[in-house]
Protein backbone atom coordinates (compact mmCIF):
# COMPACT_ATOMS: atom_id res chain seq x y z
CA UNK A 1 0.00 0.00 0.00
CA UNK A 2 1.26 3.47 -0.87
CA UNK A 3 1.90 5.56 2.16
CA UNK A 4 -1.12 7.67 2.90
CA UNK A 5 -1.22 9.67 6.14
CA UNK A 6 -4.68 8.47 7.12
CA UNK A 7 -4.11 8.72 10.87
CA UNK A 8 -2.94 12.31 10.57
CA UNK A 9 -6.00 13.08 8.44
CA UNK A 10 -8.31 11.42 10.96
CA UNK A 11 -6.84 13.59 13.70
CA UNK A 12 -7.84 16.65 11.68
CA UNK A 13 -11.54 15.66 11.80
CA UNK A 14 -12.83 16.28 15.35
CA UNK A 15 -16.09 14.36 14.88
CA UNK A 16 -14.23 11.11 14.16
CA UNK A 17 -13.38 10.96 17.87
CA UNK A 18 -17.08 10.84 18.82
CA UNK A 19 -18.54 7.76 20.41
CA UNK A 20 -21.80 6.72 18.78
CA UNK A 21 -23.99 4.47 20.92
CA UNK A 22 -20.91 4.08 23.12
CA UNK A 23 -18.80 2.81 20.23
CA UNK A 24 -16.18 4.49 18.06
CA UNK A 25 -17.87 6.14 15.11
CA UNK A 26 -17.39 4.38 11.79
CA UNK A 27 -18.66 6.98 9.36
CA UNK A 28 -19.51 5.45 6.00
CA UNK A 29 -22.19 7.84 4.77
CA UNK A 30 -19.83 10.15 2.93
CA UNK A 31 -21.79 10.11 -0.31
CA UNK A 32 -24.64 11.78 1.58
CA UNK A 33 -22.36 14.30 3.27
CA UNK A 34 -18.78 14.19 4.43
CA UNK A 35 -17.39 15.34 7.77
CA UNK A 36 -15.40 18.57 8.20
CA UNK A 37 -11.75 19.05 9.09
CA UNK A 38 -10.85 21.47 11.85
CA UNK A 39 -9.36 23.82 9.25
CA UNK A 40 -12.83 24.30 7.74
CA UNK A 41 -14.57 24.70 11.09
CA UNK A 42 -11.92 27.18 12.22
CA UNK A 43 -12.07 29.21 9.01
CA UNK A 44 -15.76 29.85 9.56
CA UNK A 45 -15.27 30.70 13.21
CA UNK A 46 -12.34 32.98 12.32
CA UNK A 47 -14.35 34.83 9.70
CA UNK A 48 -17.23 35.52 12.10
CA UNK A 49 -14.81 36.43 14.89
CA UNK A 50 -12.51 38.76 12.93
CA UNK A 51 -13.46 39.49 9.34
CA UNK A 52 -17.22 39.44 8.89
CA UNK A 53 -19.41 41.96 7.10
CA UNK A 54 -21.47 41.90 3.92
CA UNK A 55 -19.49 41.55 0.71
CA UNK A 56 -19.12 43.84 -2.33
CA UNK A 57 -20.94 46.65 -0.57
CA UNK A 58 -19.22 48.67 2.04
CA UNK A 59 -16.18 50.88 1.88
CA UNK A 60 -15.43 49.98 5.48
CA UNK A 61 -12.55 47.69 6.31
CA UNK A 62 -14.52 44.67 7.49
CA UNK A 63 -16.47 44.59 4.23
CA UNK A 64 -13.20 44.74 2.33
CA UNK A 65 -11.76 41.87 4.38
CA UNK A 66 -14.90 39.75 3.99
CA UNK A 67 -14.96 40.44 0.25
CA UNK A 68 -11.30 39.47 -0.09
CA UNK A 69 -11.91 36.18 1.69
CA UNK A 70 -15.09 35.45 -0.24
CA UNK A 71 -13.50 36.22 -3.62
CA UNK A 72 -10.38 34.40 -2.50
CA UNK A 73 -12.50 31.27 -2.09
CA UNK A 74 -13.78 31.72 -5.63
CA UNK A 75 -10.20 31.88 -6.91
CA UNK A 76 -9.34 28.69 -5.04
CA UNK A 77 -12.30 26.90 -6.60
CA UNK A 78 -11.32 28.20 -10.05
CA UNK A 79 -7.83 26.76 -9.62
CA UNK A 80 -9.13 23.53 -8.05
CA UNK A 81 -11.20 22.62 -11.12
CA UNK A 82 -8.89 24.50 -13.51
CA UNK A 83 -11.50 26.90 -14.87
CA UNK A 84 -10.23 29.57 -17.24
CA UNK A 85 -11.41 32.50 -15.13
CA UNK A 86 -13.19 33.03 -11.81
CA UNK A 87 -16.02 34.66 -13.78
CA UNK A 88 -17.00 31.08 -14.58
CA UNK A 89 -17.45 30.16 -10.91
CA UNK A 90 -20.96 30.92 -9.67
CA UNK A 91 -21.77 30.33 -6.01
CA UNK A 92 -25.05 28.51 -5.43
CA UNK A 93 -26.52 26.54 -2.51
CA UNK A 94 -25.50 23.20 -3.94
CA UNK A 95 -25.67 20.82 -6.88
CA UNK A 96 -29.46 20.83 -6.90
CA UNK A 97 -29.70 24.59 -7.16
CA UNK A 98 -27.02 24.65 -9.86
CA UNK A 99 -28.95 22.20 -12.05
CA UNK A 100 -32.20 24.08 -11.49
CA UNK A 101 -30.41 27.30 -12.43
CA UNK A 102 -29.18 25.85 -15.72
CA UNK A 103 -32.59 24.34 -16.47
CA UNK A 104 -34.45 27.57 -15.83
CA UNK A 105 -32.02 29.93 -17.56
CA UNK A 106 -30.08 28.12 -20.27
CA UNK A 107 -32.90 25.62 -20.65
CA UNK A 108 -35.75 28.09 -20.95
CA UNK A 109 -33.79 30.26 -23.38
CA UNK A 110 -32.64 27.43 -25.65
CA UNK A 111 -34.97 24.46 -25.31
CA UNK A 112 -38.34 24.45 -27.02
CA UNK A 113 -41.30 22.16 -27.64
CA UNK A 114 -40.16 18.94 -29.30
CA UNK A 115 -36.51 19.41 -28.29
CA UNK A 116 -34.84 16.76 -26.16
CA UNK A 117 -32.80 16.71 -22.98
CA UNK A 118 -30.73 13.55 -22.58
CA UNK A 119 -29.86 12.05 -19.18
CA UNK A 120 -28.98 8.52 -18.06
CA UNK A 121 -30.89 5.93 -16.05
CA UNK A 122 -28.50 6.28 -13.10
CA UNK A 123 -29.21 9.92 -12.28
CA UNK A 124 -29.98 11.33 -8.85
CA UNK A 125 -33.44 12.88 -8.59
CA UNK A 126 -31.78 16.30 -8.71
CA UNK A 127 -30.66 15.57 -12.28
CA UNK A 128 -34.09 14.27 -13.28
CA UNK A 129 -36.74 16.48 -11.74
CA UNK A 130 -35.41 19.92 -12.86
CA UNK A 131 -35.52 18.64 -16.46
CA UNK A 132 -39.01 17.21 -16.00
CA UNK A 133 -40.13 20.62 -14.77
CA UNK A 134 -38.47 22.27 -17.77
CA UNK A 135 -40.10 19.77 -20.12
CA UNK A 136 -43.49 20.48 -18.59
CA UNK A 137 -42.94 24.20 -19.07
CA UNK A 138 -41.66 24.02 -22.63
CA UNK A 139 -43.05 20.85 -24.17
CA UNK A 140 -39.56 19.43 -24.54
CA UNK A 141 -38.97 15.69 -24.04
CA UNK A 142 -36.73 14.00 -21.47
CA UNK A 143 -34.75 11.08 -22.94
CA UNK A 144 -33.05 8.50 -20.74
CA UNK A 145 -30.04 6.44 -21.84
CA UNK A 146 -30.22 2.94 -20.32
CA UNK A 147 -27.76 1.17 -18.02
CA UNK A 148 -26.86 -2.51 -17.78
CA UNK A 149 -26.89 -4.89 -14.82
CA UNK A 150 -23.33 -3.94 -13.86
CA UNK A 151 -24.60 -0.40 -13.43
CA UNK A 152 -22.75 0.92 -16.47
CA UNK A 153 -24.14 3.26 -19.06
CA UNK A 154 -24.84 1.37 -22.30
CA UNK A 155 -22.76 3.77 -24.33
CA UNK A 156 -23.98 2.66 -27.77
CA UNK A 157 -27.57 3.32 -26.71
CA UNK A 158 -26.57 6.69 -25.37
CA UNK A 159 -24.95 7.62 -28.65
CA UNK A 160 -28.02 6.52 -30.61
CA UNK A 161 -30.12 8.92 -28.55
CA UNK A 162 -28.02 11.92 -29.60
CA UNK A 163 -29.80 13.59 -32.50
CA UNK A 164 -30.74 16.94 -34.03
CA UNK A 165 -33.45 17.45 -31.41
CA UNK A 166 -31.07 16.95 -28.48
CA UNK A 167 -30.37 20.36 -27.00
CA UNK A 168 -28.57 19.37 -23.79
CA UNK A 169 -26.92 16.32 -22.25
CA UNK A 170 -26.88 16.18 -18.44
CA UNK A 171 -25.16 13.23 -16.79
CA UNK A 172 -23.63 12.22 -13.50
CA UNK A 173 -19.83 12.21 -13.51
CA UNK A 174 -20.19 9.51 -10.84
CA UNK A 175 -23.38 7.79 -9.66
CA UNK A 176 -24.38 8.24 -6.01
CA UNK A 177 -26.34 4.99 -5.82
CA UNK A 178 -23.95 2.72 -7.75
CA UNK A 179 -20.55 4.37 -7.67
CA UNK A 180 -20.24 4.12 -11.45
CA UNK A 181 -17.89 6.65 -13.02
CA UNK A 182 -19.24 7.51 -16.45
CA UNK A 183 -17.05 7.77 -19.58
CA UNK A 184 -17.57 11.52 -19.55
CA UNK A 185 -14.83 12.47 -22.01
CA UNK A 186 -16.33 10.17 -24.60
CA UNK A 187 -19.82 11.47 -23.83
CA UNK A 188 -18.69 15.07 -24.17
CA UNK A 189 -16.83 14.44 -27.42
CA UNK A 190 -19.83 12.68 -28.95
CA UNK A 191 -22.21 15.44 -27.86
CA UNK A 192 -19.91 18.22 -29.03
CA UNK A 193 -19.60 16.56 -32.42
CA UNK A 194 -23.28 17.40 -32.75
CA UNK A 195 -22.90 20.84 -31.10
CA UNK A 196 -24.77 19.72 -28.00
CA UNK A 197 -23.59 21.17 -24.68
CA UNK A 198 -22.98 18.87 -21.72
CA UNK A 199 -23.63 19.39 -18.01
CA UNK A 200 -21.77 17.13 -15.61
CA UNK A 201 -23.28 16.50 -12.18
CA UNK A 202 -20.07 16.36 -10.19
CA UNK A 203 -21.60 16.05 -6.71
CA UNK A 204 -20.14 12.58 -6.18
CA UNK A 205 -17.04 12.75 -8.34
CA UNK A 206 -15.43 15.89 -7.00
CA UNK A 207 -14.41 14.55 -3.55
CA UNK A 208 -12.81 11.47 -5.10
CA UNK A 209 -10.79 12.55 -8.14
CA UNK A 210 -8.96 15.38 -9.82
CA UNK A 211 -11.42 17.35 -11.94
CA UNK A 212 -10.15 19.57 -14.75
CA UNK A 213 -13.04 21.27 -16.52
CA UNK A 214 -10.89 22.47 -19.42
CA UNK A 215 -9.48 19.05 -20.05
CA UNK A 216 -12.96 17.53 -19.81
CA UNK A 217 -14.26 20.34 -22.02
CA UNK A 218 -17.64 20.12 -20.28
CA UNK A 219 -19.93 23.12 -20.67
CA UNK A 220 -21.27 23.06 -17.13
CA UNK A 221 -19.89 21.32 -14.04
CA UNK A 222 -21.87 21.44 -10.80
CA UNK A 223 -21.09 20.28 -7.27
CA UNK A 224 -21.84 20.79 -3.58
CA UNK A 225 -19.44 21.96 -0.91
CA UNK A 226 -20.73 19.64 1.80
CA UNK A 227 -19.64 16.44 0.07
CA UNK A 228 -16.19 17.99 -0.47
CA UNK A 229 -15.46 18.33 3.28
CA UNK A 230 -16.84 21.87 3.17
CA UNK A 231 -19.95 23.41 4.71
CA UNK A 232 -23.51 22.68 3.64
CA UNK A 233 -25.40 25.50 1.96
CA UNK A 234 -22.70 26.31 -0.57
CA UNK A 235 -22.07 24.83 -3.99
CA UNK A 236 -20.68 25.72 -7.36
CA UNK A 237 -21.93 26.14 -10.88
CA UNK A 238 -19.08 26.21 -13.36
CA UNK A 239 -20.11 27.29 -16.83
CA UNK A 240 -18.09 28.28 -19.88
CA UNK A 241 -17.98 32.05 -19.96
CA UNK A 242 -19.65 32.44 -23.35
CA UNK A 243 -22.57 30.28 -22.25
CA UNK A 244 -23.00 32.09 -18.94
CA UNK A 245 -22.81 35.49 -20.71
CA UNK A 246 -25.62 34.52 -23.06
CA UNK A 247 -27.87 33.09 -20.34
CA UNK A 248 -30.63 35.18 -18.77
CA UNK A 249 -30.37 35.70 -15.00
CA UNK A 250 -31.89 33.22 -12.54
CA UNK A 251 -33.18 35.21 -9.58
CA UNK A 252 -33.54 38.97 -9.44
CA UNK A 253 -32.45 41.14 -6.55
CA UNK A 254 -29.44 42.89 -5.13
CA UNK A 255 -25.89 42.03 -6.18
CA UNK A 256 -26.95 40.74 -9.61
CA UNK A 257 -27.63 44.24 -10.96
CA UNK A 258 -25.46 47.04 -12.24
CA UNK A 259 -28.11 49.73 -12.55
CA UNK A 260 -31.77 49.74 -11.62
CA UNK A 261 -34.48 52.22 -12.58
CA UNK A 262 -38.18 51.54 -12.63
CA UNK A 263 -38.01 51.51 -16.39
CA UNK A 264 -35.26 48.92 -16.76
CA UNK A 265 -32.45 47.08 -15.06
CA UNK A 266 -28.95 46.44 -16.29
CA UNK A 267 -27.52 43.18 -15.05
CA UNK A 268 -24.19 42.79 -13.35
CA UNK A 269 -21.23 41.09 -14.97
CA UNK A 270 -20.29 37.46 -14.39
CA UNK A 271 -20.44 35.74 -12.03
CA UNK A 272 -22.52 38.22 -10.01
CA UNK A 273 -25.36 38.16 -12.54
CA UNK A 274 -26.32 34.77 -11.07
CA UNK A 275 -25.77 35.65 -7.42
CA UNK A 276 -28.80 37.64 -6.34
CA UNK A 277 -28.93 38.55 -2.67
CA UNK A 278 -26.34 38.22 0.05
CA UNK A 279 -24.46 34.98 -0.59
CA UNK A 280 -23.55 32.33 1.95
CA UNK A 281 -20.29 34.18 2.73
CA UNK A 282 -18.89 32.07 5.55
CA UNK A 283 -19.77 28.83 3.82
CA UNK A 284 -17.93 29.93 0.68
CA UNK A 285 -14.90 30.76 2.81
CA UNK A 286 -15.23 27.37 4.49
CA UNK A 287 -15.28 25.67 1.10
CA UNK A 288 -12.11 27.55 0.19
CA UNK A 289 -10.49 26.19 3.36
CA UNK A 290 -11.60 22.66 2.44
CA UNK A 291 -9.93 23.04 -0.95
CA UNK A 292 -6.70 24.27 0.67
CA UNK A 293 -6.82 21.22 2.89
CA UNK A 294 -7.36 18.83 -0.03
CA UNK A 295 -4.62 20.46 -2.10
CA UNK A 296 -2.14 19.81 0.68
CA UNK A 297 -2.91 16.09 0.50
CA UNK A 298 -3.40 15.95 -3.26
CA UNK A 299 -6.45 14.66 -5.10
CA UNK A 300 -4.46 12.01 -6.98
CA UNK A 301 -3.23 10.51 -3.73
CA UNK A 302 -6.72 10.58 -2.29
CA UNK A 303 -8.05 8.81 -5.39
CA UNK A 304 -5.37 6.13 -5.15
CA UNK A 305 -5.99 5.52 -1.45
CA UNK A 306 -9.76 5.34 -1.89
CA UNK A 307 -9.36 2.90 -4.78
CA UNK A 308 -7.50 0.61 -2.39
CA UNK A 309 -10.27 0.97 0.20
CA UNK A 310 -12.95 0.14 -2.36
CA UNK A 311 -11.04 -2.87 -3.68
CA UNK A 312 -10.59 -4.15 -0.13
CA UNK A 313 -14.25 -3.62 0.78
CA UNK A 314 -15.44 -5.23 -2.45
CA UNK A 315 -13.28 -8.29 -1.92
CA UNK A 316 -14.50 -8.70 1.67
CA UNK A 317 -18.13 -8.14 0.69
CA UNK A 318 -17.94 -10.80 -2.03
CA UNK A 319 -16.99 -13.34 0.64
CA UNK A 320 -20.25 -12.82 2.53
CA UNK A 321 -22.90 -15.32 1.54
CA UNK A 322 -26.25 -13.74 0.71
CA UNK A 323 -24.73 -10.34 -0.01
CA UNK A 324 -25.30 -8.88 -3.45
CA UNK A 325 -23.38 -5.81 -4.56
CA UNK A 326 -25.52 -3.36 -6.52
CA UNK A 327 -23.27 -1.59 -8.99
CA UNK A 328 -20.20 -3.42 -10.27
CA UNK A 329 -19.01 -1.07 -12.96
CA UNK A 330 -15.42 -1.36 -14.08
CA UNK A 331 -14.78 2.28 -13.26
CA UNK A 332 -16.14 2.99 -9.83
CA UNK A 333 -15.73 5.52 -7.08
CA UNK A 334 -15.58 4.54 -3.41
CA UNK A 335 -19.20 3.46 -3.00
CA UNK A 336 -20.39 -0.02 -2.00
CA UNK A 337 -24.13 -0.39 -2.43
CA UNK A 338 -25.51 -3.78 -1.41
CA UNK A 339 -28.51 -5.84 -0.42
CA UNK A 340 -28.75 -8.91 1.79
CA UNK A 341 -30.94 -11.92 1.21
CA UNK A 342 -34.21 -11.54 3.16
CA UNK A 343 -32.93 -8.63 5.28
CA UNK A 344 -34.33 -5.22 4.47
CA UNK A 345 -31.81 -2.35 4.13
CA UNK A 346 -33.55 -0.41 6.91
CA UNK A 347 -32.94 -3.28 9.31
CA UNK A 348 -29.32 -3.36 8.15
CA UNK A 349 -29.04 0.38 8.78
CA UNK A 350 -30.50 0.20 12.29
CA UNK A 351 -28.42 -2.84 13.22
CA UNK A 352 -25.18 -1.29 12.00
CA UNK A 353 -26.06 1.98 13.73
CA UNK A 354 -26.22 0.15 17.04
CA UNK A 355 -22.56 -0.75 16.42
CA UNK A 356 -21.60 2.87 15.75
CA UNK A 357 -21.51 2.36 11.96
CA UNK A 358 -23.24 5.00 9.86
CA UNK A 359 -24.42 3.77 6.46
CA UNK A 360 -27.25 4.96 4.31
CA UNK A 361 -30.29 2.74 3.85
CA UNK A 362 -32.88 3.72 1.31
CA UNK A 363 -33.35 4.64 -2.33
CA UNK A 364 -30.56 7.25 -2.33
CA UNK A 365 -32.75 9.72 -4.19
CA UNK A 366 -32.44 7.43 -7.19
CA UNK A 367 -35.76 5.54 -7.26
CA UNK A 368 -35.45 4.67 -10.98
CA UNK A 369 -32.14 2.92 -10.19
CA UNK A 370 -33.86 0.87 -7.46
CA UNK A 371 -36.65 -0.05 -9.90
CA UNK A 372 -34.08 -1.14 -12.50
CA UNK A 373 -32.37 -3.50 -10.05
CA UNK A 374 -35.77 -4.58 -8.68
CA UNK A 375 -34.90 -3.76 -5.08
CA UNK A 376 -36.94 -1.47 -2.81
CA UNK A 377 -33.78 0.05 -1.40
CA UNK A 378 -30.12 -0.73 -0.78
CA UNK A 379 -27.67 -0.27 2.05
CA UNK A 380 -24.76 1.90 1.01
CA UNK A 381 -21.33 2.24 2.53
CA UNK A 382 -19.55 5.21 0.97
CA UNK A 383 -15.93 5.86 1.79
CA UNK A 384 -13.84 8.96 2.28
CA UNK A 385 -10.13 9.64 2.57
CA UNK A 386 -10.32 9.30 6.38
CA UNK A 387 -11.73 5.77 6.36
CA UNK A 388 -9.50 2.77 7.04
CA UNK A 389 -9.35 -0.92 6.27
CA UNK A 390 -9.88 -1.55 9.99
CA UNK A 391 -13.22 0.28 9.70
CA UNK A 392 -14.15 -1.86 6.71
CA UNK A 393 -13.43 -4.91 8.89
CA UNK A 394 -15.79 -3.52 11.55
CA UNK A 395 -18.45 -3.08 8.86
CA UNK A 396 -18.02 -6.58 7.45
CA UNK A 397 -18.09 -8.18 10.92
CA UNK A 398 -21.24 -6.20 11.67
CA UNK A 399 -22.87 -7.45 8.48
CA UNK A 400 -21.93 -11.06 9.26
CA UNK A 401 -23.31 -10.76 12.79
CA UNK A 402 -26.60 -9.26 11.71
CA UNK A 403 -27.05 -12.01 9.14
CA UNK A 404 -26.65 -14.50 12.01
CA UNK A 405 -29.16 -12.67 14.19
CA UNK A 406 -31.73 -12.65 11.40
CA UNK A 407 -30.93 -16.31 10.64
Amino acid sequence: MTHFPVQKIRDDFPILAELIRKKPLVYLDNAASSQKPKAVIDSISHLYTHDYANVHRGVHLLSVRATDKFEGAREKIKDFINADTSKEIVFVRGTTEAINLVAQTYGKANIKAGDEVLITAMEHHSNIVPWQILCEQTGAVLKVAPIDLKGELIYEEFEKLLNDKTKLVSVAHMSNALGTVNPVKRIIAAAHAKDIPVLLDGAQAIPHMKVDVQELDCDFYVFSGHKLYGPSGIGVLYGKQALLEAMPPYQGGGEMIRKVTFAETEYNTLPFKFEAGTPSIADAVGLGAAIDYLNEIGMDRIAAYEAELLAYATEKARQIEGLRIIGEAEHKGAILSFVLDKIHPHDIGTMLDSLGIAVRAGHHCAMPVMDFFEVPATARASFAMYNTKAEIDVLMNGIKSLIEVFG
Partner: protein, 150 residues
Protein backbone atom coordinates in the same frame (compact mmCIF):
# COMPACT_ATOMS: atom_id res chain seq x y z
CA UNK B 1 -23.36 -8.00 19.80
CA UNK B 2 -26.72 -6.27 19.31
CA UNK B 3 -27.69 -6.05 22.98
CA UNK B 4 -28.72 -2.41 22.68
CA UNK B 5 -31.35 -3.37 20.12
CA UNK B 6 -33.16 -5.95 22.23
CA UNK B 7 -36.06 -3.60 22.93
CA UNK B 8 -36.51 -2.93 19.24
CA UNK B 9 -35.85 -6.35 17.74
CA UNK B 10 -37.54 -8.74 20.12
CA UNK B 11 -37.67 -12.45 19.33
CA UNK B 12 -41.38 -12.17 18.47
CA UNK B 13 -40.47 -9.69 15.74
CA UNK B 14 -37.87 -11.99 14.23
CA UNK B 15 -40.39 -14.83 14.39
CA UNK B 16 -43.08 -12.87 12.53
CA UNK B 17 -40.51 -11.60 10.03
CA UNK B 18 -39.37 -15.14 9.23
CA UNK B 19 -42.87 -16.61 9.25
CA UNK B 20 -45.41 -13.89 8.59
CA UNK B 21 -48.95 -14.89 9.61
CA UNK B 22 -51.86 -14.46 7.20
CA UNK B 23 -49.49 -13.87 4.32
CA UNK B 24 -51.96 -14.65 1.55
CA UNK B 25 -54.59 -13.13 -0.70
CA UNK B 26 -58.28 -13.19 0.30
CA UNK B 27 -59.88 -13.69 -3.11
CA UNK B 28 -63.34 -12.43 -2.10
CA UNK B 29 -62.11 -9.64 0.17
CA UNK B 30 -64.55 -6.84 0.94
CA UNK B 31 -61.77 -4.33 1.40
CA UNK B 32 -58.38 -4.21 -0.29
CA UNK B 33 -56.01 -1.29 0.38
CA UNK B 34 -52.38 -0.74 -0.52
CA UNK B 35 -49.99 0.91 1.94
CA UNK B 36 -46.73 2.45 0.78
CA UNK B 37 -43.81 4.06 2.55
CA UNK B 38 -41.90 5.91 -0.17
CA UNK B 39 -38.97 6.60 2.13
CA UNK B 40 -37.95 2.96 2.41
CA UNK B 41 -39.97 1.31 -0.32
CA UNK B 42 -42.10 -0.77 2.08
CA UNK B 43 -45.22 -1.83 0.27
CA UNK B 44 -48.12 -3.95 1.47
CA UNK B 45 -51.62 -4.86 0.40
CA UNK B 46 -54.13 -5.46 3.16
CA UNK B 47 -57.22 -7.64 2.61
CA UNK B 48 -60.26 -7.66 4.90
CA UNK B 49 -63.28 -9.97 4.82
CA UNK B 50 -66.14 -8.43 6.75
CA UNK B 51 -69.11 -10.07 8.46
CA UNK B 52 -71.37 -7.13 9.21
CA UNK B 53 -69.13 -4.82 11.17
CA UNK B 54 -66.91 -7.65 12.36
CA UNK B 55 -63.56 -8.37 10.69
CA UNK B 56 -64.02 -12.02 9.80
CA UNK B 57 -60.64 -12.43 8.13
CA UNK B 58 -57.54 -10.34 7.49
CA UNK B 59 -54.47 -11.00 5.39
CA UNK B 60 -51.65 -9.22 3.59
CA UNK B 61 -49.09 -9.40 0.82
CA UNK B 62 -46.03 -7.30 0.23
CA UNK B 63 -42.47 -6.71 1.29
CA UNK B 64 -40.85 -4.59 3.92
CA UNK B 65 -38.39 -4.47 6.75
CA UNK B 66 -38.64 -6.75 9.79
CA UNK B 67 -40.46 -4.13 11.84
CA UNK B 68 -43.10 -3.45 9.20
CA UNK B 69 -43.55 -7.14 8.34
CA UNK B 70 -43.91 -8.12 12.00
CA UNK B 71 -46.27 -5.23 12.59
CA UNK B 72 -48.67 -6.13 9.80
CA UNK B 73 -48.42 -9.85 10.61
CA UNK B 74 -49.28 -9.23 14.28
CA UNK B 75 -52.04 -6.84 13.27
CA UNK B 76 -53.81 -9.33 11.01
CA UNK B 77 -53.81 -11.79 13.88
CA UNK B 78 -55.16 -9.44 16.49
CA UNK B 79 -57.91 -7.74 14.49
CA UNK B 80 -59.62 -10.95 13.43
CA UNK B 81 -62.96 -11.19 15.22
CA UNK B 82 -62.90 -7.54 16.28
CA UNK B 83 -65.59 -5.04 15.33
CA UNK B 84 -64.63 -2.01 13.29
CA UNK B 85 -64.95 0.17 16.40
CA UNK B 86 -62.71 -2.14 18.40
CA UNK B 87 -60.11 -2.16 15.64
CA UNK B 88 -60.18 1.63 15.40
CA UNK B 89 -59.71 1.87 19.17
CA UNK B 90 -56.77 -0.48 18.92
CA UNK B 91 -55.25 1.68 16.14
CA UNK B 92 -55.46 4.72 18.42
CA UNK B 93 -53.80 2.92 21.32
CA UNK B 94 -51.12 1.52 19.04
CA UNK B 95 -50.46 4.95 17.60
CA UNK B 96 -50.07 6.42 21.09
CA UNK B 97 -47.80 3.58 22.10
CA UNK B 98 -45.45 4.08 19.13
CA UNK B 99 -45.50 7.86 18.76
CA UNK B 100 -46.91 9.41 21.92
CA UNK B 101 -44.97 11.01 24.72
CA UNK B 102 -47.49 9.77 27.25
CA UNK B 103 -45.92 6.97 29.27
CA UNK B 104 -49.31 5.84 30.53
CA UNK B 105 -50.23 3.74 27.50
CA UNK B 106 -51.99 0.61 28.66
CA UNK B 107 -49.78 -2.10 27.21
CA UNK B 108 -52.22 -4.77 28.35
CA UNK B 109 -54.82 -3.31 26.01
CA UNK B 110 -52.58 -3.98 23.00
CA UNK B 111 -51.60 -7.51 24.01
CA UNK B 112 -48.87 -8.97 21.81
CA UNK B 113 -48.49 -5.67 19.97
CA UNK B 114 -46.54 -4.41 22.99
CA UNK B 115 -43.41 -5.92 21.40
CA UNK B 116 -43.47 -2.96 19.01
CA UNK B 117 -43.39 -0.34 21.76
CA UNK B 118 -39.60 -0.13 21.34
CA UNK B 119 -39.86 1.82 18.08
CA UNK B 120 -40.72 5.00 19.91
CA UNK B 121 -37.02 5.27 20.78
CA UNK B 122 -36.17 5.09 17.06
CA UNK B 123 -37.91 7.99 15.32
CA UNK B 124 -36.60 6.87 11.92
CA UNK B 125 -38.40 3.53 12.33
CA UNK B 126 -41.79 4.57 13.71
CA UNK B 127 -43.38 4.64 10.27
CA UNK B 128 -42.25 1.07 9.65
CA UNK B 129 -44.47 -0.01 12.56
CA UNK B 130 -47.42 2.25 11.81
CA UNK B 131 -47.74 1.63 8.05
CA UNK B 132 -49.92 -1.44 8.59
CA UNK B 133 -52.24 0.44 10.90
CA UNK B 134 -52.63 3.47 8.64
CA UNK B 135 -53.52 1.04 5.89
CA UNK B 136 -56.09 -0.64 8.14
CA UNK B 137 -57.51 2.76 9.10
CA UNK B 138 -58.02 3.59 5.42
CA UNK B 139 -59.59 0.17 4.81
CA UNK B 140 -62.02 0.55 7.69
CA UNK B 141 -63.01 4.05 6.63
CA UNK B 142 -63.33 2.73 3.09
CA UNK B 143 -61.83 5.98 1.93
CA UNK B 144 -58.92 5.09 -0.31
CA UNK B 145 -57.44 2.33 -2.37
CA UNK B 146 -53.95 3.27 -1.34
CA UNK B 147 -52.29 5.19 1.45
CA UNK B 148 -48.82 6.55 1.84
CA UNK B 149 -46.92 7.41 4.98
CA UNK B 150 -45.72 10.67 3.41
Amino acid sequence: MFDDLRDLYQEVIFDHNRNPRNFRVIEDADRKVEGFNPLCGDRLTLYLKMDGDVIADASFQGSGCAISTASVSLMTEIIKGKTEAEAEALFKTFHEMTTGKDEQVNLEAVGKLAVLAGVREYPARVKCATLAWHTLDAALKNEAESVSTE
